[in-house]
Amino acid sequence: MVPATAPRRGRATLLLVGLLVAASAGFSALKVATDKIAREKLPGSSIIYVPSGKFLKFAAFGYRALAADAVYLWSIQYYSTPTIDDRYDHLDHVFAIINELDPRFQDPYEVGAMIAVQGAQENRARPEAAARLLAAAFAILDRGAANNPDQWIYPFNAGHIALMTLKDYALAETYFERCMAIPGAPEFVERLRANAIFKKGDLQTSWETWLDIYKRAPDERTKKIASNHLYNVKATMDKAALEAALAEYRKRTGRPPAGLDALAGAGLVREVPKDLDGKDYVYDPAAGTVTTVISPWRR
């Protein structure tokens, strides 16, 4: 015989299940509704309480590398979310945490610097912010170099950023020099250094450096590259001398010379120089410019 309480019990269970379904539908709908309400955010508030890596080293007990992985993974998500407008504000701090937790973790140095450069490019309209981000890129790479003195990639990357983004050629030269001193650094770094010296405007040192590279070139390809650069350095020096003489000639006579030979005739140059291949420079009297007969890179 079924007890009389059984149907009542069944009804109560059904009622409970109904309540569960209604409650879950209710909180799901409310979750969607609250998500739609925009709440004010403080700039940088999402990471303002991220503590320093020095503190986290202790807080992570024996799991420093794991903590570094976790912060790194989070940072990748954080910096790849363009809707967070102020995400670059604490970039150096965030990557310093990862670097302090796991100094031999190589990726964060490279990726952190890359993100900083990307941030600097995004903030071109705000020169102060862009400069701060570029400084952060160098700070991250400097930490990488200090923590991993056997890795040439950090001074190399720093030199590349100085050369291509910051256009501080003296700084680029310094970083490439440091890179060359590390065993295993690729041989093309010395060519980048020579190029940085050229861009810095030190043509004599650039000529000597490229000549040295040319003489020590281990293969024909390197020899050709060095030769092209030597051609370019010589052409730049000759062009500067000829254009200065042309300006002086115009000043004296009030008109441009018909040809470059006139400069030698006027005693403004000892002789008209030829390019590295022994060919004459091309003179345009109307524009008053001197150019090479061929591009240095197409010889």
């Binding site: 109560a12 409970l16 409650a23 979750k31 709440r39 004010e40």
Partner: protein, 254 residues
Amino acid sequence: MRIGAIAGITFKEAKRDRVLYLLFFFAALGILASRVLAILTVGDRLKIIKDVGLASIAVFGVLMAILIGTGLVYKEIDKKTIFTLLAKPIRRAEFILGKFLGLVLTLFVMTAAMTAIFLAIVFAHTLEVEGALLVAVAYIFLELVLVTAVAVLFSSFSTPILSSLFALAFYLIGHLSWGLKLILAKMAPGPGRALVRALYTVLPDLENFNFKTEVVHGLPIPPGIYLPSLLYGLCYTAFILGLAILIFRRRDFI
């Protein structure tokens, strides 16, 4: 009526629990220490006081809810007093609801006491009573109500240690589930995204009760969020309690 009686007894029982006073002592210490911490800062000291004070109320409140809540039902079963109780004309649902409401009442008293100390510390610093802080405290209390329901749920079928771990995990998930939103934004449409979307909707979002940042920094809180957040908390609590009752009704104590 029977629920009220059980709630009253639970409140009296919780009042005698030394853990409650230990946690209250540390909470009060935390709130008072905020003044000392504020001295160490450069800049806005009041912000540190408010941050540490509100965090102390939230953290120690949650610890109270978990440490006391997870033992509520288990203790009755362990000491066999459940037999005496259930032999009386009391429904199991009434027992669960009574236990829950008794702890909620305890937490209400504790939260009120911690808030009084906190407001006194803020008043000592600013010589003003900041009513806005009560908004943050009210929603902290709503969060405590939900965590209490979770503690009671786990207590109805598990040991206090496991229940504490589960309830703590619920609390942590509740404060980290917003991370799924970031993942969702990066996922291509498909079954994986639908699964994450479902998880994101179903998992608790305790950030709905977190108005601490807005209150401390004086940021405007959208008026439209108060009611949905309150209803969200109540619905989720009802769901958890329903689940607890359903499980407890099917338990065999022999």
